[in-house]
Symmetry: C2
Subunit: 357 residues, 2 copies
Amino acid sequence: MAENTFDIAVIGGDGIGPEVVAEARKVLDAALASESAEFTYTEYSLGAEHWLTTGETLTEETLQALRGHDAILFGAVGADPLDTRVPSGIIERELLLGLRFNLDHCVNLRPTRSYPGVVSPLRGVDEANPIDFLVVREGTEGPYAGNGGLLRRGTDAEIATEVSVNTAYGVRRVVEDAFHRAQARDKHLTLVHKNNVLTYSGDLWTRTTAAVAESFPEVRWDYLHVDAATIHMVSNPQRFDVIVTDNLFGDILTDLAPAITGGIGLAASASINTAGTAPSMFEPVHGSAPDIAGKAIADPTAAVLSAVLMLDHLGLGDAAARVETAVHAQLNQWAQDGASGLSTSQRGDAFVARLNR
Amino acid sequence: MAENTFDIAVIGGDGIGPEVVAEARKVLDAALASESAEFTYTEYSLGAEHWLTTGETLTEETLQALRGHDAILFGAVGADPLDTRVPSGIIERELLLGLRFNLDHCVNLRPTRSYPGVVSPLRGVDEANPIDFLVVREGTEGPYAGNGGLLRRGTDAEIATEVSVNTAYGVRRVVEDAFHRAQARDKHLTLVHKNNVLTYSGDLWTRTTAAVAESFPEVRWDYLHVDAATIHMVSNPQRFDVIVTDNLFGDILTDLAPAITGGIGLAASASINTAGTAPSMFEPVHGSAPDIAGKAIADPTAAVLSAVLMLDHLGLGDAAARVETAVHAQLNQWAQDGASGLSTSQRGDAFVARLNR
Ligand SMILES: CC(C)[C@H](C(=O)O)[C@@H](O)C(=O)O
Ligand SMILES: CC(C)[C@H](C(=O)O)[C@@H](O)C(=O)O
């Protein structure tokens, strides 16, 4: 009988989402077999398909139900871009951002690393010089606050505004989280902003980072403008350990980051409620890939690595480490033997077999 | 006797700025020797050094004088980052952005291309698969408007805002300019924005692009979110021809863009007043590089290529083409023979010699 039972909400979503999440569950169950912990799963139907059937993106009722869980395991959402029945952006905003804002996912976590067998598009990155850093992106304010407006739409005198909203409360909790993570890694934090132009928010971010730094004397921190940060990403990505940044800069950098590893299909992410007032969410960075959905060929690795982040977040660090090791070992083997032609579930099974060795 | 005389303002600036601008002038004069045009130059002392001496960044008087010129040839400004006497950001904001906003430089132009002998950090970019695109960045509004504020600074209840201001007037003139340039190139325009999140400004940008597109039936255009655009930049930069984007996204992409060519030290830029109500400005993207200033080893190529953009802008397309060809031929030769050990003026002289062949 398990000591701890964790109540997991599962949102498979659209396209390959449910396919990869199924493999993540398989691996989770295998990992927990030797632990005094157990997961129960409740499936929620959400996403573009759900919207087409019900006209609903995220109801208050669903949100309430989700709040009762210990964590959310998420697949991917989004219709085929050619499907004109789904208005552009609605699923992203009302469901994805809806969850992030309503569940107060203030820390958006994106680990970025080289994987065996995955060739980086960068000449300077190889097995001897791998990429391994973590982006801690703010998730609930900044330019994502949805503040703004349109005046005189469609006229020559039209004006559109977007207000980036940044609070001491919101910035501080993210910067603190980032310092904690840097402390547990290579003790190097880089604040990325554009404080020479965005002087108000830049001042708040820079001052907050300097203040929090005082509690982390072992962590050395530096600052990069966001434009310069993109140069470092392609010329010397090995310089990064932990990056902390605002919501929009984080969005940009966390697409660039997995791209430079060559493994955008392998990237995992977590949306963390740091106060524990609502469940955190774990999701592969890749999308619903409608073009390969239903063919059982999707790679479940990113979903499995997102499950690793979930195990870690739930305090099951031991199981997390075992799964991560198994995934790396298996990717290593595939890098040597080749893995083409493997189905989604064959890949999941291979991770489980590796875990049970 | 020259038919046309152009009255050029020269701002050498700090560090290597004056050194590279001197070579650009040399090449300009050589290029004009066979044209019915002539340049006169007036030097302006501006930048960090000037600020240290006078306490002034950009006076109304200097601005007035600059307005009288046909164009501005700019070197680089900025103090040694270790020089604590110069408050961070002041030269950038009051001088660089001061010129851009006061002279209504609405189009910030950044051509990005592979150069002979310059190895891209990307494996997928080589002589057979070169990079060649143009970023048309909005220069006078968006998040750079300087709108925003700080409330309750330094308290737990602090809030900082930044307002991105976008007008139909401001967006339209940039989008039109970009379509014109796409029409003259490979007839492919990519709008980059984040219209799924920044819905107000995104709506204005997307609607404006669609509307202007109707006057350019030969130009095919597409749309990318800024995060996805960074992925394409590292995975398939050859897909781009002309990119049009807002001020902040443009800032980020135009540092990433030269970085992926490997030739950030060779990148040229132009800040264009499209209405012709004030002089446009031409400047290398590289900075003042205080560490190598005064050693006569700075590479003047980016300044010379910025002068090419100036020739083109002033209607001297023929001279522009001749200089560009000469620079490429010379870079090609250096790529074969090696160019290490060449001084700044030896490089300038080599371009001139090539031009006079
Ligand atoms: C889909 C979109 C709203 C989202 C974002 O901009 O945050 C995505 O790009 C991401 O990074 O998770
Ligand atoms: C120095 C800075 C204000 C400037 C900008 O942000 O525009 C620079 O990065 C640029 O791209 O010209």
